[in-house]
Symmetry: C2
Subunit: 205 residues, 2 copies
């Protein structure tokens, strides 16, 4: 792709570093910005730079935060000793949206994945184990995606903390609410039969 302007070329090149954005898409986005008021581009530019330089990660749960300790960890109404272990901040947002969880979170920042070169030391696992060691945790809820990597990560953490006599659980896998049985994949359906719950319990939720 040949550009008539070095400035345009640089903007397109930087934009196309984003995941899923190729050169053509980058050009389309950048040309869109050229047609909009100048302030829009300056606002975007500033918001990105400010976010990247000023944003903090919560010292306790590693969630993204504007303060040292995030709003969730600082909230006195949350149950402090029940911790939900998630992969990244999007999972925190998803669970918060359900309003079904009143405990705290611990954001790992990824899953153990040797194929991608991500080992336990690249994740926020040590600080979680420390919390357990200090006796600050009563229950740990594993809420990672149900993949090979998720299961590996769950198991790795479980091995580290199994001697500390705390409750551990994983979020339930099963058929989605509103789904027909016949369209559910076999593994999910199989697990949902094995992990069936008492009918009385299902009436409460």
């Amino acid at each position: 792709m040949e550009f008539s302007s070095k400035l345009l070329e640089k903007a397109v090149n930087e934009m196309s570093q984003l995941p899923g954005v190729g050169k053509r898409t980058a050009l389309r986005l950048v040309l869109h910005l050229m047609r909009q008021p100048q302030q829009q581009t300056l606002d975007l530019s500033e918001a990105l730079a400010q976010m990247r330089t000023e944003i903090k990660f919560c010292k306790s749960c590693h969630n993204i935060s504007d303060t040292e300790i995030c709003e969730i960890c600082a909230n006195p109404n949350r149950v402090e000793d029940v911790i939900c272990v998630v992969e990244d901040i999007r999972d925190v947002m998803a669970i918060e949206n359900t309003s079904s969880f009143k405990g705290l979170y611990h954001v790992l920042g990824g899953k153990i994945s040797p194929m991608d070169g991500i080992g336990p030391n690249d994740l926020n696992i040590q600080s979680l184990v420390e919390k357990v060691k200090q006796g600050a945790v009563k229950e740990l809820i594993f809420a990672l995606g149900s993949t090979m990597e998720g299961d590996t990560t769950n198991f790795y953490i479980y091995k580290q903390i199994q001697d500390f006599n705390i409750k551990t659980s994983t979020i339930a896998r099963g058929i989605s609410v509103g789904n027909e049985l016949e369209y559910t994949d076999e593994v999910t359906l199989g697990r949902s039969i094995i992990n069936r719950i008492p009918f009385e319990a299902s009436l409460k939720s």
Copy 2:
């Protein structure tokens, strides 16, 4: 969508102003930047701001340029009096890539589209008509997309310059090189029969 950080929220909101980028995609892109070295975000931020504030449009053809007159218009080897009328800078890049055109361009900046509120005065049509009036143009090649809006725009410009005795043409519509007849849509195939070219001429290209 609830965010644990105002800075993050602002960045996501600005990002989701881009066409085809929703809140979820914006969040994914922004979180990707958070995982990359800080310099990448600062480079992107600076490239966008610099582009939007410093880039110029060529005074002659309205192509994007770093200088008052773009490289193409300033090139003494180009044929000055053959002008290819295109919608935007991407079309210039596409035609330049073919190396089949040695004339100059005129970038309209869009197509006449009453549905989108774009009239002739929103486009760079007047300066094109001026060029023709001044006798600087021998041939005008219309190279807009073959849509209702493209045809309207072509016709509007044609009406303005038809009294000036210059050659006008549109780029050929027909079946793509390498395409099978049976998969070509009827309108295109019909046009390509009506506008058939002498076999000897086809041998040259």
